[in-house]
């Protein structure tokens, strides 16, 4: 009797698409990704909070079928174009995210914190390197586009009661025969584990938070509500 084909059912290989820390990174065109497991460092920049929908990686293929006179089924399919995209909705507004959304170079804020730029009526097509960094327990997945540019944008709605969305879709460009790099590896190879925390509490651990409770407990009990 022959052994069953591998792989068998294995739920530990099921991955929930949670961000590994910031999870979404951008850098100048052609920037090399960190080695497997190593942390993202400059010139990579975090794109900050994204919407709850996370990141969507898409793909499209254009083909041309060769159907001979003697058959109704094609005998060969020629791939004429392969498009791979990455889409997400950014929630943080800053020099990096606005520049990406408007496909414009954006100067650094001045001393007063003012960012001002014109969106050119022509031009654009800025090229970036983009990386998605996901982790689910012991499973890590990184997708890196070394060359990608803005493909399309969604509506930027300024409404009451909602974060202003920067809906961005980037399309992969060829990079010496490669569109993107996929890295899958165990979490044991991570050299630095980042957690998503607000900037002001980034150095604060759960233990620190627990210490706060001692201050609360030490306060004199007030008599009224």
């Amino acid at each position: 009797m022959t052994a069953p084909a591998e792989p068998l059912l294995d739920p530990t290989e099921v991955m929930v698409g949670t961000a590994n820390g910031p999870g979404l990174w951008i850098a100048p065109e052609g920037t090399e990704p960190p080695a497997v497991g190593e942390a993202f460092a400059a010139p990579w920049l975090s794109l900050g909070y994204t919407s709850d929908d996370g990141v969507t990686v898409g793909g499209d293929k254009t083909t041309e079928s060769l159907t001979p006179w003697q058959s109704t089924a094609p005998i060969r399919t020629i791939i004429t174009e392969v498009t791979r995209t990455v889409a997400f909705v950014l929630w943080q507004l800053n020099q990096t995210t606005l520049g990406l959304y408007f496909d414009s170079p954006v100067p650094a804020p001045d001393a007063d914190g003012v960012t001002e730029f014109d969106v050119a009526s022509s031009g654009g097509g800025l090229i970036y390197a983009v990386a998605v960094d996901a982790r689910d327990g012991e499973n890590c997945l990184r997708l890196i586009w070394r060359r990608a540019n803005l493909d399309s944008t969604g509506d930027m709605q300024l409404t009451k009661g909602a974060a202003v969305p920067l809906d961005v879709t980037l399309s992969a460009l060829d990079n010496n025969g490669s569109q993107l790099t996929v890295q899958q590896f165990p979490a044991s190879l991570l050299t630095d584990t980042l957690t998503v925390t607000a900037e002001k509490t980034s150095a604060q651990s759960v233990a620190d938070v627990q210490d706060d409770t001692e201050a609360v407990a030490a306060e004199p009990v007030s008599s009224g509500v």
Partner: protein, 146 residues
């Protein structure tokens, strides 16, 4: 009274029932983990804390692997201000659990879905704040855990 053969038969049914590996993992006890993290907030100075899982539903994936649990945390204290502050400490602890290593499972997300809500105890008027969270968990997926 069950016969010996009937007992053996039932045991065989139970032993042969697991055909999906996703079902053959111990379910992480997120309710106990949250309690482990916040219970110390209510052990002195007249304060008390209660946390429990009031609903749990599966999410898409292998059956039973991913679960979305709704957790409620009630914090009581001797004043409204003290209850609020202690409740906020509990909020930070629960939201921070996503980064705490846990041998039983993996927490994929923690969202606060309601609260902090002022809900003084009926009858006594004892100050209480209520906060509700949803926590998505699945069993530990480390190969060494199997």
């Amino acid at each position: 009274m069950r016969s010996a053969s009937e007992m053996i038969s039932r045991r065989r049914i139970a032993q042969s029932a697991t055909f999906d590996p996703a079902l053959n993992f111990p379910m992480p006890d997120i309710e106990a983990f949250v309690w482990q993290a916040v219970s110390h907030l209510g052990d002195d100075y007249g304060s008390s804390i209660t946390s429990w899982c009031y609903a749990s539903v599966p999410v898409p994936g292998p059956s039973g692997w991913n679960v979305l649990s709704s957790i409620q945390v009630d914090v009581r204290d001797q004043s409204k201000a003290a209850a609020f502050r202690r409740s906020d400490t509990a909020r930070r602890i629960v939201l921070g659990l996503i980064s705490v290593p846990w041998s039983e499972g993996v927490i994929n997300r923690v969202d606060m879905v309601a609260g902090p809500q002022w809900l003084a105890d009926y009858g006594t008027g004892r100050p209480r704040y209520v906060t509700q969270f949803v926590v998505q968990v699945h069993p530990n997926n480390g190969k060494e855990m199997q």
